[in-house]
Every structure is written in C-alpha cells, then in structure tokens.
Symmetry: C2
Subunit: 313 residues, 2 copies
C-alpha cells in the first residue's frame, strides 16, 4: 500500500480549521481519512499550565519532537500510539492506536513549527482570518461548546496574544496555501470576502481564463504567489464555474463529486459559503493529484524547488 | 552522543525481572539507566480484558508493533511518549516523555515476540524459573504488593497458563543468556541452584580456568551453548573469584564495582544470593563491553553470525 497523503491545516485557535476539514472529510469518506490533532501533544495539563503561566500555544508546552516523530510514522504508513488531551476537563486520557488511512489530516496550532514537522506534509494550508473575526468565532465556540463565559474567553485571548504573535502567526510563511477571510464589515458569514494565497511550492491549476472581476472573482500575481480573491457577493454560478473547472482537472475522481462543499454550521443551523466551497475544492485538487502521483510511482506533487526554505528563527 | 545500550529482560510474570535489574541499575547509576516496561503497552485495560476473556500475555492484548517502534527510537537515541499502565487499578494514565539514557533496560512479558523487537537489544536475557518457584513468587508479590488473595492469584495463574505456554516461554529461544533457577527442594531462596545458559550470539568471557566442581561451580558445553551451574551451596569465596575474574575483564570500568550485587528483598528484609551476583556481574560485563565498543566506533558486541535466526512460528 502506498503511503498516505498528508494535509496540514494550521492556524490559531478558532481560525476555522475544523470547518474547513469537515467538508473535505465528507468528500473523501470518513473511512479514508485519519484525523490527528497536534493539540493532543500538550506537555502539561490545564492545571500545570496555570501553575507555570504557560499557554498551550507555546512550543515548550508541547512535545514538538514527538509530533514530528509521529507524523513521520504516519507518512511512512506506520501506526502510532497517539496521546489524548481532553478539552472538556483539560487532562490527558489513555492514548489511542491510530493507523494512517489513505488521507491523513493533521490539524493544530503548531504544525509547521519545526522543519522536521514541515517536511511531512503533501499540502500545507494556513488559516489566517483577521483577528476581529477570529475573536468572535472563538467566543461563540468556547461559550457554546466548551462552557466558558464571554469574559473568560476574551481574557484568555489577551493572555495568549504574545504567543500567537511569536509562534502561531509566523507559521504562515511555510504554507502552500494561505486562506484569509477579510474583515466582514456588515456582511454575514455566508458572504465573507476570501483571499487565497497560492504559493509556487505546489503546482496550482491555472484559473486565469475563468476569473471574472465583475462577477466577484479576481486573480493577481506578486513575486512567487498568485492571489485568488472571491468576493462575498460572488454569484453562486460564478463560484460553481471555478469549482467545475477544478473538478474537470481531476475527472478521474469524479465519483467523489459533492454538492455539499461550502457547508458550515452555526450552532445547529446549516449555512453555505461560496468562498469556502472554492477553497475546499482547491485543496481537494491537491490531495487527489498527490494521491494519483503516488499511485503512478511518483512521490506527490510538491515542486522540489518550491519547498519554502525559510530559516526557522 | 552514541546510541544507548539496550538490555532486554524478558520472562513470565514474577519470574524475577525486577530483582535482577534492580542490582544492575544500582551499579550503573539511576541517572544512567532508562527503564521501560513493555507491559505499559497493553491494548486493553483490565475491565476490557475481562470482557474479552483475554490475558495480558496474549500478543493481541498488546501493541507489539508500537513496542518495536518505540524501542527503535530509544536505540537511535530518540525520545518517546510512553503509555502508562497502572497495575494498582488496571487502567491507563497520561503518557510520559522518555529520553534514553546511556543504558536502557527493557523489561516485560513479550519483549522478544517479534523479529522487529528482537533486533534492538544489545543483550537479551530470559528468565526461566521452574513453574513451582514462579507460582510461589507470584503469590507472594501479588498478595503483598497488589492486594490479591492467594486463591485469586492461583486462579489467575491457571487462567494464564495456555498463553504462558504459547507466547511467553517460547521466547527463551531468542535469548543470549537464559537464567534458570532450579527447583529448590528444601533450600531457601538465598541458596537456589542456578543454571546460566550462555549462547554464542554474544562472546562470553572464558571461565573454564575458574570453575571448581567441588566448590559448587561447573561448566559444560552442548552444541552452541555453554552452561554455567552455580550451586546454591557455593562458597561465597568461590563465587567471588568468578565475579573477580569477570570484573578483571572490564577493569576500565572498575569505578563501578559494587559489593551490593546479589542483594534482593523479601518484604522489607534484605537477603543475598551468590548465584544472583554471578548472573548480574556477567550481564554487566556485556553491557559495559558493548558500551566500550560504541565509544570506540564499533557497534556493540553481538556476534553477527550469532543472532538467533529462529523463525517466528
């Protein structure tokens, strides 16, 4: 069996990692995706962090060497015994035995922190919503699903800011794809403007014939990257054309096509975002072509010269 | 830093593994020895094993692949995140971060079960007391330190017998050194007859000039192994001569010499066994010469042609 394809989805707390990956998993099939959260590799439980005044965002608070080791095993198709951190009570549980499936999604705060970690991914995505938006998302999630008060969440965000700046946001430079939602102004969440930074470390599909500024999709280039902007007011038909063009380039996987990309929930309400759907289908493109490359005896689609070589400082 | 030297001590429950290694750790220094127990890698907790009617001796009840993976990391000098099984309540705790020290002692039930595991050891010891003796040891330990009744321990021994025969005892064939205590008759534990099987997979010190049947130490050869018998009634002076001769061959490590080899406790009472001291100094010889080999750019002292190649059946 060929090695699994590894997708990294890195970003700060409540940056939208789970929302993004949920749609991918739905398309690829639960049984074909192994999900690993690097936050399970905390070195200290919640009580110990409080005593040491450390945030979970600090590398010293995580077994970053063991994360790299375990990701290496998964990439080699080998099982790991993965630790478990329980968000509800902030303690560790019995580890679980994890075997890599055809695709492995690695989600977390510090996934690109060391070079050893960065080497394992076939596709590296970084989520970079504006702080205003992320704070609102975190308040909503932590109050509704993790039982905190608004004041507690806002205080925690302030306490984490220095580590976010020092350790989380700098990882953006290592991504193949950066997803930025732009400040929403008076727009609702189904209609956020999104900006996708597509770096040359991966060979992205050429979308230049498809963009249509009037219809809300533009493309621009700067040095080593292409920027695809999807307006929050894009017509569903225009977004669908882009998605269609990308699916066309992976027609050998047409059995995976799904109308359900772009879906997300607020509470229990189902919503749909056109820009989220475009982002998801583009990531799927990279996962599926990397998988096809392996099946044909290649080793994925990462451009050898395109691996970001930024020195870890 | 050169890789650590790995000692395996394998044998059934209560075969004397901890008693044997405790003296070695005392000589080598706590700070120089990492201790790993493969029983921490149980797949099921006590309740789950009861539901499935599995004993902890069965390979299906243990993550044998992860044991091999972790031992490989330790041998390469790399840290692991080791699971924790708590004997007192039969559940799993938070894993611990373990870095290999200069020497790593791996103790447990199934340490030689797969070829991948067997490859990691510099020295492989198997403890094979007669069942009569082991049952008595297990009753004493589990009643005094683990809170069971005699009837419970005897019933558990019966329940485990099939797995002991199928999975534990067959591992003896992979050992470089087999330690057999002989049925004690009316002898007390300080004066058990011991038989050491020294296989040619390691180069053992030549003791032929030192043995003295009249004084209670004999040497015999059969096919690929040498058998050293130390009578329970051996004179302390005779045992000391053997130990002296072995220490002489590792005079570069004379700063480690200790009078305390051979000590063991029953409850809180300290006892001494001459045969245990001889066994311990012989194992030390192999650990120390393997370490010296690495320091000189070699790769240990295992005879390349001497690796037991028995097929795993």
């Amino acid at each position: 069996m060929p090695r699994p394809i590894i997708l990294g989805v890195v970003g700060d707390s409540a940056a939208g990692k789970t929302t993004l990956t949920r749609g991918l998993v739905r398309v690829l099939g639960e049984e074909n995706v192994t999900h690993v959260c690097t936050d399970d590799y905390h070195r200290f439980d919640r009580k110990q962090r409080a005593e040491r005044n450390l945030t979970p965002l600090h590398p010293d608070c995580n077994y970053v060497d063991v994360i790299a080791q375990h990701l290496g095993h998964l990439r080699a198709g080998e099982p790991i015994l993965k630790p478990i951190y329980t968000h509800s009570d902030g303690t560790f549980g019995a580890p679980v035995y994890v075997k890599p499936a055809r695709f492995t999604v690695v989600e977390g705060l510090l996934g690109y922190h060391t070079e050893a970690m960065r080497q394992v991914y076939d596709v590296r995505v970084f989520l970079s919503p504006p702080e205003e938006l992320r704070r609102a998302w975190k308040v909503r999630r932590d109050c509704s699903r993790r039982g905190y008060t608004t004041d507690q969440v806002l205080a925690e965000l302030d306490r984490r800011e220095a580590d976010s700046e020092a350790f989380i946001r700098p990882q953006e430079r290592y991504a193949d794809i950066v997803v930025r939602y732009l400040p929403s102004g008076d727009r609702d969440q189904e209609h956020l403007d999104a900006e996708l930074v597509l770096r040359s470390s991966l060979r992205h599909p050429d979308l230049s014939g498809l963009v249509d500024g009037d219809a809300g999709i533009t493309l621009s280039e700067r040095s080593d990257e292409v920027i695809l902007r999807v307006s929050g007011s894009v017509e569903p038909e225009t977004a669908a054309e882009i998605e269609e063009a990308i699916w066309e380039r992976m027609h050998f996987a047409s059995h995976l096509r799904s109308e359900r990309l772009g879906e997300f929930t607020i509470g229990t309400d189902l919503h749909r975002s056109e820009s989220l759907a475009v982002i998801q289908v583009l990531i799927l493109y990279h996962l599926i072509t990397a998988k096809a490359s392996l099946a044909l005896g290649g080793d994925g689609t990462r451009a050898p010269s395109g691996i970001p070589e930024a020195v870890h400082t």
